[in-house]
Amino acid sequence: MRHLLILCLLLTNSTAVFACATCLCGDPTLTTMGVEKPFAGRTRVSVDYLTRGETVGEARTEEHKIDEERITYSLSYAPNTQWMLSASVPMITKTVDRYDLSHEQSSGVGDVDLTARWFIGRPTSIATSRLWGLHFGARIPTSSEQMLKGEAIDFDAQPGAGALIPSVGIWLGEYHLPWFFYGSAIVQHATSDGYQGYRPGNALLLTAHSQYALPTQAFLKPFIQEWALQFNLDARWKNQDQFNGVLADDSGGTLVMATPGLAWTPSTDWLVNISYQQPIIENAKGRQEEEPTLRAGITYDF
């Protein structure tokens, strides 16, 4: 029974990685879909809060700090045992503070992420199993360009990019109780320009996720049914962005982030997660200093 509960926790894991739509570091699908084997009709909703920041540009002449807060509402649904579909709608507030003390902020609905996950490899036993499949996705330019008094807010403060960004990838989940491992590789390529002539560079997102289910002590039982420690390595290789066909100096490069996290089930069908993402390798073009990211979310399975 205990193993079944642990497995349940593992399979309903919904945390793990940074899913930032702006910096695109990590697998953006784990939150919304989890990694479990789907059953027909499985439905999940989740709400995630994320806060992050970065400083870009040469000091005194171009430097600006971007802060972002987002709440992402997600719904996933499995029409059968082979496919899982999801949609995520972010509500975003972004602020830009520049070296000259100018300040811009805008809020609104970001670009919607639509994802389909195809389960090809199937588990062979309940205790040790392997899942793998393909990922298909698209970031849809559903946001609107934020304006103030008829003037567009600067791109860096826009809640959405306004570009159509399809993605394809491969993923693999491996269960060895009480351990769970997950990896994915996803390629993103924009097929249209976004606001203000923006075209994101092609990106490769790699995620390596591990999770260890902890035994639940008796004194924790009133608050926690099951819980697990998590650790991710998320990497992004990205070409430089462009604005109106001109390469943006302070964009693109390599970013690797380490993400310790914790997930627990306070009651049946609920899952709470919290994670902290720390940049460990930054080999960026120009000056880009990524700040740590804090993320918390709650998920409910119907």
């Binding site: 709400v47 002449t61 003390l101 902020q105 304006m147």
Partner: protein, 305 residues
């Protein structure tokens, strides 16, 4: 089942609450930053009021706007067309001892501190994102706005400016116009400034009769062809300028004090001797001053009657 329904209701309410709490576009904010207004003026400390001495070989001195200088021999030289190309105007922060190593590296790899990237705004048809061509044969003392640029808060001690060889577009670039062919005097061409740092069309009295009356003028039409590029000038401010959020705008005016351009030059050699022209280019570079700097907007030019 009831349990599920209750959770569904709770979740729906949670979503509605969270969605209701989300910021909307009404919260959009755009606050302007600190602005540096940059201007230029040119002047002579001791104005030379030149004599009108029309003679063959020269330009139409009486009909053309011109400024007058004296060379090392006291010869009056009339300037009819004089254009300079300037760029990289910036205020330079005061250096502390801790910044000396950085200053050393900046000498090796020059850095621009307030170049016009974000926040460069045109003023009066000019801006700082491209070089500016200065027409010296305009009213002395007139403050010409060159544009606004964003600037970081701080304490600034110097003004930086470069003479630049024009390669491409610029503000205030004159349109080429050929010289007239009137006889005996003519109007000088308006030079094509492409590929040039400066250009000058001038003349002086080269020959006088026994009564001292000018009988022949000599045209001196020169530019910087073959000369070495001048250096960037960094000119100290009279007092440090502190720019902060209290008063969000400041101004800095480049002064071109051109009295001494010909002070160590023999104008008779200027057209033919490259060394003389190099001295002129160096003198031009050395004539840059900080005319004024302070908080607020650029001073308003007096309205002439």
């Amino acid at each position: 089942m009831i349990f599920k329904a209750n959770f569904s209701t709770a979740l729906s309410l949670l979503f509605a609450f969270l969605l209701g709490g989300c910021a909307g576009s009404d919260d959009n904010v755009n606050e302007a930053g600190l602005v540096l207004h940059v201007g230029e003026t040119h002047y002579q400390q001791d104005e030379v009021v030149g004599d009108i001495e029309i003679a063959a070989g020269g330009y139409a001195q009486n009909a053309l706007e011109h400024h007058t200088l004296r060379d090392q021999n006291g010869v009056q030289v009339s300037l009819y067309r004089t254009y300079l190309v300037i760029d990289n105007l910036a205020l330079v922060p005061c250096a502390s001892v801790a910044q000396w190593p950085q200053k050393f590296f900046d000498l090796l790899l020059p850095k621009v501190y307030a170049h016009a990237g974000h926040g460069s705004e045109p003023v009066g048809g000019r801006a700082l994102d491209k070089p500016n061509v200065i027409d010296l044969i305009t009213q002395d003392g007139f403050i010409l706005p060159l544009g606004d640029t964003a600037i970081a808060p701080g304490r600034y001690c110097e003004l930086q400016v470069s003479l630049t060889r024009l390669a491409g577009d610029a503000y205030g670039k004159p349109e080429f116009s050929a010289a007239s062919t009137d006889d005996p005097v003519t109007s000088p061409e308006i030079p094509d400034m492409n590929g040039k740092i400066f250009a000058m069309r001038s003349d002086y009295c080269a020959q006088r009769d026994s009564g001292g009356v000018c009988v022949r003028r000599q045209q001196v039409n020169i530019d910087d062809a073959g000369l070495s590029e001048p250096m960037t000038q960094t000119i100290p401010l009279a007092t440090p300028l502190v720019i902060d959020a209290t008063l969000r705008e400041a101004y800095s005016i480049l002064g071109i004090e051109y009295d001494a351009w010909l002070a160590n030059i023999d104008v008779a050699l200027l057209g033919s001797d490259q060394n003389e022209r190099q001295k002129l280019l160096d003198n031009i570079s050395d004539s840059f001053r900080v005319y004024a700097a302070g908080l607020g907007d650029l001073p308003v030019n007096a309205v002439s009657d």
